[in-house]
């Protein structure tokens, strides 16, 4: 699960344990909890850590004065994930044994204060060098992960970007946000997202899925990187969809499917149905069962599995809640030609005859 979610959970936990929330914070917390089951889960996990602390048998129990003294002596901002070797404070390193490699080079006049000082200095330097390497390694990794946001199965979230544009991420989606002065660029690496773009004539807003670019100025549109290709639906305004060799313009209410081979002609579509996922519902209009299963599996840890090829031409119409998948299962159970078998790991769909 996403590290960011744990950070949020931890911040909320600290707020609750120290003085509680004011009305506005409470609303924000309610909202946060109801955004995703992953948030609920992360809050439970962080809370478990908090509650476990008093049950520790303290073989090591520093006094408050000791803790305060050490914390005050440590004025470095320490990278959180660094191993203990790199986080030890300079104060402690100075008293540590010098590294083994240094001993062989130690001069004969070992006991002179000056040698001892240079000794400690060398120890300090190597500790410092180690932590710089650590920071660079972490930094490099963090840099490559910068601007990447993702959602897990069953999780949806909404992001507000630096320019005020809002991105709604559907389940199992990953985007990378790269804003420069020339362009507001978003890479849709996987899944589906709805973009509500803040108007800015200077810097165009571009969403790309591989070779396909979707460009807009002040509009709202949905991009779904599906198996068959990229599906673009325009909710408001205009967008340009382009590939290296071709380009089409879409207006509100139009949808286009872009495959690696071509851009299909734009078609009028039901925008409410295409963006129904943002209202936590799934709309199917005579959709093949395979498509229904793919959609359903974005929201559920226990996947649906079709176990009979003859079900390929079974079609489903209806509106289902994406957060209450039991309704869809109940619907499928009621179909006379289907048999549904539930196991701990999956839900199997078979043909009765």
């Amino acid at each position: 699960m996403n590290q960011q979610i744990y950070e949020q959970a931890s911040d909320w936990l600290v707020k609750h344990r120290d003085g509680g929330l004011d009305a506005q914070e409470k609303r924000a917390f309610d909202h946060w909890l109801r955004e995703s089951p992953q948030h609920v889960r992360a809050y439970f996990e962080m809370s478990s850590v908090w509650e476990d602390l008093p049950s520790l048998d303290r073989s090591w129990n520093p006094s408050a004065e000791e803790l305060i003294a050490r914390a005050r002596a440590d004025d470095n901002v320490v990278p959180l994930s660094a191993p203990p070797a790199a986080v030890s404070s300079p104060l402690l390193s100075a008293h540590q044994q010098p590294p083994a490699a240094m001993i062989s080079q130690a001069p004969a006049s070992h006991s002179s204060p000056e040698a001892a000082r240079s000794y400690r200095k060398a120890g300090l330097l190597s500790a410092l060098a180690a932590s710089i390497v650590m920071v660079c390694v972490c930094g490099g990794w963090l840099y490559s992960q910068r601007g990447v946001y993702n959602t897990a199965v069953g999780e949806q979230r909404s992001l507000t970007l630096a320019d005020g544009s809002v991105v709604e991420l559907n389940a199992r989606t990953r985007i990378k946000v790269q804003y420069t002065e020339a362009e507001r660029h978003i890479d849709l690496l996987e899944g589906q997202a709805l973009f509500r773009v803040a108007r800015n004539r200077v810097s165009p807003f571009v969403v790309s899925t591989g070779d396909t670019r979707v460009q807009a100025v002040g509009t709202a549109f949905d991009v779904y990187r599906a198996k068959a290709g990229t599906l673009v639906t325009v909710v408001e305004g205009k967008v340009a969809v382009s590939q290296p060799k071709s380009q089409v313009y879409l207006t509100a209410g139009e949808q286009v499917l872009v495959t690696p081979v071509e851009i299909a002609p734009p078609q009028r579509t039901n925008v409410a149905a295409a963006t129904a996922w943002t209202r936590r519902s799934l709309v199917f209009d005579a959709a093949p069962l395979t498509e229904v299963v793919d959609e359903f599996n974005r929201y559920n840890a226990r996947p649906l599995v079709i176990q009979d090829e003859r079900l390929a031409d079974f079609h489903v119409s209806g509106v289902f809640s994406s957060v209450e998948p039991t309704l869809l299962i109940r619907f499928l159970r009621r179909q006379p030609e289907l048999v549904i078998e539930e196991t701990d790991t999956e839900i199997r769909i078979k043909k009765k005859y």
Binding site: L33, S36, S48, V49, I68, V78
Partner: protein, 178 residues
């Protein structure tokens, strides 16, 4: 049950059993998130969505734990539905009195606490100080800020980061996510 009655009940649970409930749940949640109840978080989440006016409930955190408790209770006792008026202290005693006599579970628990203890020792000095002074010695964040010469907001940040660091030392629970 009427909405105001439900709220009164939750407020009451929070007041009388809040800390005890959270402590008990912490222990249960850790094992259930891993194995017993893979969809616990999902189930609690769905119940939260069914509440029309979550904002009118005084403490949504207390509510969260109460709901989790009900879900676990239903799971443990295999009850189809539990009357919401059941005295919660009876339930906690009931569930506490069914101890995990399983030596594997006991050993795992010991191991977890040992890892937590080690993780605590591995924390950077500021995180360690803020966490222990607050949780062990009961200092407020204001007081800690004064003692360490940092702002209250920074103290809160160190506390939050320290908790995150401790969680990372536990094996990632992957049940329920692909």
């Amino acid at each position: 049950m009427e909405e105001f009655q439900k709220q009164a009940l939750i407020a009451d649970i929070e007041k009388q059993h809040g800390a005890r409930l959270r402590r008990f749940l912490a222990y249960r949640l850790r094992s259930s998130l891993a194995a017993d109840v893979p969809d616990l978080a999902q189930e609690v989440f769905l119940r939260l969505l069914r509440i029309d006016h979550l904002e009118t409930i005084r403490s949504s955190e207390a509510y969260l734990f109460t709901v989790a408790f009900h879900v676990l209770h239903q799971h443990v006792l295999r009850h189809a539905a539990m009357p919401e008026t059941v005295e919660i202290s009876t339930l906690i005693s009931e569930m506490e009195s069914a101890p995990d006599s399983d030596p594997v579970v006991q050993t795992e628990r010991q191991q977890q606490l040992l890892e937590l203890q080690n993780a605590l020792r591995g924390l950077p000095p500021k995180g360690q100080a803020v966490l222990l002074l607050h949780r062990r010695d009961g200092y407020s964040l204001d007081e800690i800020g004064r003692q360490l010469g940092i702002s209250r907001a920074m103290a809160a940040k160190y506390l939050s980061k320290a908790l995150l660091h401790l969680r990372q030392r536990f094996p990632e629970k992957t049940v329920g996510t692909p």
